[in-house]
Symmetry: C2
Subunit: 623 residues, 2 copies
């Protein structure tokens, strides 16, 4: 992968930073965050401004450009990738390492006295604005909103904002109608004495209205905002998407509904004016509720006295706890996904071992092809990480022609992939060897597996936050002086974003909401040896009630049920390193794969993949 040459672009950006057409006074630094106006993690091509200016296209990172410097902050998943994609104009700031300065500290260290730091107020979340503005102010600088996005001013061939058709989801998929979701939301608003609720996150809008879209690759969302009052529902959305009869019927736009359920459809771009109008009509004790991660521009549109900000909205929390229909949908999706992967791995074994003609890209495409044969397949849920040998150590690697390696019997192959089905979202990682793994590779794989099992089999009291489980995933690695530089798990949406809050399993978070039965998270410890190999074992798991001997004095217990049912390659396991309990876990898991996925492979008449499944799920025998 050769780095993007950014010398000319940085020159143009620095000119824009001084151009009175865009800025009242020159800004000495300009911040380019990752996100879009909805603080999405995955963004549309027109919003990939940070990638455009730097070349680094990982999912997380913030660029800051000053007159003299250009610096990029990103986390452990992306250290290698960012270093490869950026040219010498850029300094990589490795977040999470002790000596890496924060963006604020770095700015203070490089800026001349009394500097102005610019940022697009629609892109920066209000909480980040506040923190950064305060830090800069205390050092004598100013954070200033620059209305016109300076990247857009130099991005001559910037793609258009997408505006694709909508998908309606009926009760079989969602379990709850949008009307009932509005009722529940209004009751939460009532509890907190809030008059208006502003929905800014794209997946929250999609979930609330039981609609899906395809404006952003991998995330079935569409560009929209919503404003909910006690008697008002306003949906801010562009194009003639709501002219589709199925959408009109779904939203009951042409029915004679009670006024409080009538949806007013208004242009996407009118949200700021709407918030200003709403604010103008408020009385002293009225409140407007929005996420503290909403953009600074929208947050500022509501005078401070009226704002009610929370880190997680009631929609975010309700969305995370899957109901029975959603849970059943997730199960179905994971069964279909496992069928596709059994086909893939069977095919890989047949192709890689004798022929050696399968590249990372071919394998990824083949995985997509098998998935697309399954019912209700919509698209992938993220860019497939198909990586062999040293590429496996690039945690969020995506194969491109320049880096594409051929799978062989000599290297570990890591496949992290998932799909969107109309009934659910999947995300699974398996690490395999098509030849004979070394003792060291097996040792590392087995520690990762022990960590995976430790989380998956953990029992914990109701009210426990996910971050308290993170160390369970690391303990076996730690004992030997190994670790991995990413969290252990993230929330997973139901035919929605593959990463969603408010729960997760990571040493980095503390403000996560407690795990509840019905939540769905990933369990994905790993180990990465730079320049050599990567190992990760990931299942999506459902939080379920656990039965314990003493049940925490009726406080209740929780544990996890794996939704992902794909064999874990036993060839990679050093059985001597497993405890009997861990060995039983693997055997029970493989028995369930046989029963559930075996039956589906049978039903779909996929005999060869079934034989592969049976071979791969032979029980481990004890020491």
């Amino acid at each position: 992968m050769s780095p993007k040459i950014t010398t000319e672009l940085l020159k143009q950006l620095r000119q824009a930073m001084r151009n009175p057409k865009y800025v009242q006074e020159p800004v000495q630094a300009y911040i380019v965050p990752s996100g879009d106006a909805h603080q999405s993690e995955y963004i549309a091509p027109c919003d990939c401004r940070r990638a455009f200016i730097s070349g680094f296209d990982g999912s997380a990172g913030t660029a800051i450009v000053t007159e003299q410097h250009a610096a990029m902050w990103t986390d452990g998943r992306y250290f290698l990738q960012a270093a490869q994609q950026m040219d010498n104009n850029w300094t990589l700031m490795k977040m999470g390492l002790k000596d890496t300065p924060t963006q604020e500290d770095w700015l203070v260290s490089v800026l001349p006295e009394g500097s102005k730091v610019g940022v697009d107020p629609f892109i920066i979340p209000a909480d980040q604005w506040k923190r950064m503005s305060k830090a800069l102010k205390s050092a004598g600088h100013d954070l200033v909103p620059v209305k016109e996005n300076l990247i857009d001013t130099i991005w001559v061939d910037c793609p258009q904002r997408p505006c694709k058709p909508l998908i309606t989801l009926d009760l079989n998929y969602t379990g709850v109608s949008w009307r009932d979701k509005i009722v529940a939301l209004r009751s939460k608003m009532d509890e907190r004495n809030v008059l208006w609720f502003v929905v800014t996150a794209l997946d929250e809008v999609a979930w609330l209205f039981n609609l899906r879209g395809s404006d952003v690759e991998y995330n079935p969302v569409f560009f929209a905002y919503a404003v909910i009052g006690m008697n008002t529902i306003r949906l801010f959305i562009d194009g003639d998407r709501v002219m589709d009869p199925a959408v009109r019927e779904h939203l009951q736009l042409d029915s004679n509904l009670e006024p409080e359920f009538r949806i007013q459809v208004v242009p996407y771009g009118s949200i700021l004016a709407e918030l200003q109008a709403v604010s103008a009509g408020l009385s002293p004790k009225d409140k407007v509720w929005l996420s503290d991660k909403a953009s600074y521009a929208l947050t500022e549109a509501i005078p401070k006295a009226y704002r009610y900000l929370t880190p997680y909205t009631p929609i975010c929390i309700a969305k995370a706890v899957k109901n029975a229909s959603e849970t059943e949908g997730m199960r179905r999706a994971h069964i279909k996904d496992a069928v596709a992967l059994c086909e893939l791995f069977n095919w890989l074994e047949k192709e890689v071992v004798p022929k050696g003609t399968v590249t990372e890209i071919i394998a990824a495409d083949k995985a997509e092809a098998f998935r697309s044969q399954q019912k209700d397949f919509v698209e992938l849920s993220f860019a497939t990480i198909s990586s062999t040998g040293p590429n496996g150590a690039i945690i969020h690697y995506k194969p491109v022609p320049e880096t594409n390696r051929t799978l062989s019997v000599n290297e570990i192959y890591l496949l992290d992939s998932g799909a969107q089905y109309k009934d659910g979202t999947t995300d699974v990682t398996r690490t395999m060897h098509f030849g004979t793994p070394s003792a060291y590779e097996k040792e590392c794989f087995t520690y990762v597996l022990k960590g995976h099992i430790a989380v998956s089999a953990a029992i914990f009291p109701n009210g426990t936050k996910g971050h308290l489980l993170d160390s369970f995933a690391r303990s076996a690695l730690w004992d030997c002086g190994l670790d991995y530089l990413h969290g252990t798990g993230h929330g997973v949406g139901s035919f929605l974003n593959v990463h969603e809050g408010p729960c997760g399993i990571s040493y980095k978070t503390f403000a996560d909401e407690p795990l509840e039965a019905g939540m769905v998270v990933s369990d994905e410890p790993g180990y990465y040896e730079d320049g050599s190999f990567g190992i990760r074992i990931e299942n999506v798991v459902l939080v379920i009630p656990a039965e314990t001997k003493y049940n925490f004095k009726n406080r209740g217990s929780l544990t996890f049920e794996p939704l992902t049912l794909v064999p874990i390659q036993t060839k990679m396991i050093d059985v001597n390193l497993l405890t009997p309990k861990e060995r039983h876990w693997v055997n029970d898991y493989h028995q369930k794969c046989r029963e559930v996925i075996g039956a589906e492979l049978e039903r779909q008449g996929r005999r060869e993949a079934l034989q592969w499944l049976l071979r791969e799920t032979e029980p481990l025998t004890g020491q």
Copy 2:
């Protein structure tokens, strides 16, 4: 224990809350925090205002009194004790439970519109003031400083502030001279471009000057502040304590020192005027460094633009990492402490079993008597928790005549005790049965032991924060649906406070500093069955470098070495529940007790206690 009758006191306090002599305008609520002007956890009798007004004398709690209500917030350690010590005027607010309101939320829910909430600005830490003031303001109320402490106005027989002689510590104990500590502090100040440093915590003043006191029971500190400039050292301290020739010599008050090491001794009460004077002399870019937990009054004395606040001061962090002299001192202290406890437990076995005449108080006194026979013993490090049967479930129980139970062969006995020696501070908990424990008691004890071992034997990379280890202590309990409502460990001072920051092991903290080799913490999981028994197993452990197979790519590994070397009662262990690794840990630990404590018992000619030690450290045999 009968509750304190507070009806009359509350009436007087409410009168004071309206008395124009003390308040410009009446306050509708008055907050009585736990602390003193130094935010100490343990406080002098004259500072026990919250206990005076409510009757509840646990170490943590905040009282709030309004015209109609009186409410007390405390944590899980004190739920039972607070309920027993307070009368019906008081509502207990159980912190950590889901439905318990925060102080701010509760105030907002009970106060009439536009209320004033008063608090002593010297007692409330600045960070708490800020949070509470903001929350109250956003609900239309005001937090106001009330200069005269309103409790003091109604406390007719309030004791005098203590002013006891000082103890000087030489290099054999401290390893570093106060001059070198000042040099190191100034270098930290220089790094951050700070002109002045204000030392507000009592243990930080004591540590910095290598002095100790006895103004506060159990904590060898003295009432003082210090202000350090680049060429100035001012010590704010009362009485003729610095007239003692040993102290004058130690501080070199009469030597002709370089000006930057000359200590100016000034009255304790002049600190506020000093800070105002310092602030008046500052230039625009100058900074004054103090803890964000310093009192609101002192923080406010420094104009905002000049303040440099951090959660942990450089003294706090330096103090936590024990040097070789301090570590050796801690080892010596723990050996002496173990000798005393072997004597005690041997004596208890002889007295309790046949005679049944030993009460909780007698046992606690006997423990103190044995400790006081040891060299360099100064005092206890906290009130001994000597509790049998149901009293053991009161987590921070202290036996008093009303609750005093007799130890018997039918109940579990829990002893949590420790001492201050001139060379170190100890804190140890052992749980014993003098008859035959039930299967359930052994089961619970064994889970607690498994948790204790999981933390003590944990290996983790450099840079790991203690809170990430907390779940290791709970895992075995969680598996069976059991838990405990307190953290797993706290930092321990070196002949200083038995609880100190910035490290610890608790699910409740997130802002703890990473563990470093040389830090000392406790490892004390427990299990409590209300009305029946309490179990806790506590060692003080030293963070040491660990040797691992792969050493985290030279990032380095850490683990713990137990400093406490007191047998863990094997009679209470259900060996079938231990893994071979855990069994070996117990046997290795007991082997070390035999070697180290056995030799010292031998040296001190304590033959009978030695026999007891040998009996109690017989190796466990496998399943």
